[in-house]
Amino acid sequence: MVVEVESFYERRIGQHNAGRHRGGAKRTSGRGPWEMVLIVHGFPSDIAALRFEWAWQHPHISRRLSHVARRSRKESSLQFHWRVLSNMLRVAPWSRLPLTVRWLKQEYRMDFAPELQPPLHIPLTFGCVRAKTKPQQECKEQDERQVERCVLCGVFVKAMDRLSCFHPSCQMVSHLICLAKHFLKADPSHLLPVEGKCPGCHHSVLWGSLIRHKNGCHGDLEEISSSSSQSHWTDELQL
């Protein structure tokens, strides 16, 4: 098994596996069917994902990974890439991003080494995923929505500044900046929050999840069991 690191966007993944003639990545065509074993997802922008990919592929020249030793002889390609990944998740500029590490193939999966544990908010999980087909959500028109006040400062909240909690029955609404400052009280040297307690329901929530919820893409991936799909899991991506 040859290991390669690729970045993918939901749209591209089907193309990628179909090979070059459908717009997939040039390098992999003609080298046999690829097996996707591990993905890191949750990048909030193309740029972030591209940069991550580049660094993962070039740890020896990435500015932020100069502390990562080169591949040793006893390390397999996958082990090396796993070690590089473990290091990447622990340093800036990636350590505060709302990422998820997901193994797709049980037989290859590895755990993080004890000394290379990722930040607490980055989950390690297993299982194939696909994008959900969402039923049309009641999308309230901005005018129809009642005027809401921020639970933290009391001032009216405009749609573009609005954050709400995604927990069912939680009514919390606040300004982006108000909640960020609230979450950062415990972490004053940073600008980007990672997680905090919802002032409404008091559940611990990840900042990334709140932003996804705001953008309407929270919970848009669902697990699929491998037995249920005959075709390649990427073919089932709905976009």
Binding site: E10, M36, E53, R63, L97, M160, L191, L192
Partner: protein, 255 residues
Amino acid sequence: VLENFLKKSALTFFTVACKKRNKGALVPITPMPGFSNMDTPELKNRLNRFGVRPLPKKQMVLKLREIHQYTHQLQSSESEEETSGPQRPPNASNSQSAPLSFKQPAAPPAVSPVKLPPSEEDELLSASQNSNTSSTFNPFLFPRSNPELCVSEDDDSDSEGITASQAVVREKDKLLAVRQFIRSDPKLYTRVLQYQPLSLAELRSSLKAAGIRLGAAKLLDFLDSQCITFSTAKQACNAKKKRKAAKPNGGVAIK
């Protein structure tokens, strides 16, 4: 060849002269390491600290020497006499009567050859281990194919001589100022909070307008330490093309 020889002997001379003087006002100069005796991996490693990609071995040696010269110039720590270049040796014991001169850098670095003490607020500085290469050098570009930015430092260094500790304090203040700036600009902060990339050029000019002058490389380090995504003009152009097609929930795969 003669010029190189002169430079080489001048270096040795100044090193020796420094030690003999024992004035205490001058910062001692580390003699240049034997780059030509190092093996290629070590050369690559050393260059990497300055953000320079691997080059043919001979070029790496030359580049490292150049870097050493830039970083190891005489500078009085009291800065009574501001020196941006080497001083004329008082007793020219060699036969050369003409003053020896180095290639002068365009913008003299304000930092003395002494290593800067590590800042307390490490979160503000680059998370990378090599904090002594805090990008004060003009000509050294990052590898071009690297999306980790091709940054050429323009003259952001102060021209007055300042001590090492003053330089550290100033930088700390500047970084605090940048942080404060972002926090107090709702539009900007809203972008940051939604993980949207900031345009490096735009940010820099906004900062400049607010009286905060920070070099591109230092700003980049700061944004990295805060895990804030940024874009260069080139990236913004590519990103626009991709943004139409790609969903925000992108990923990276290993096969």
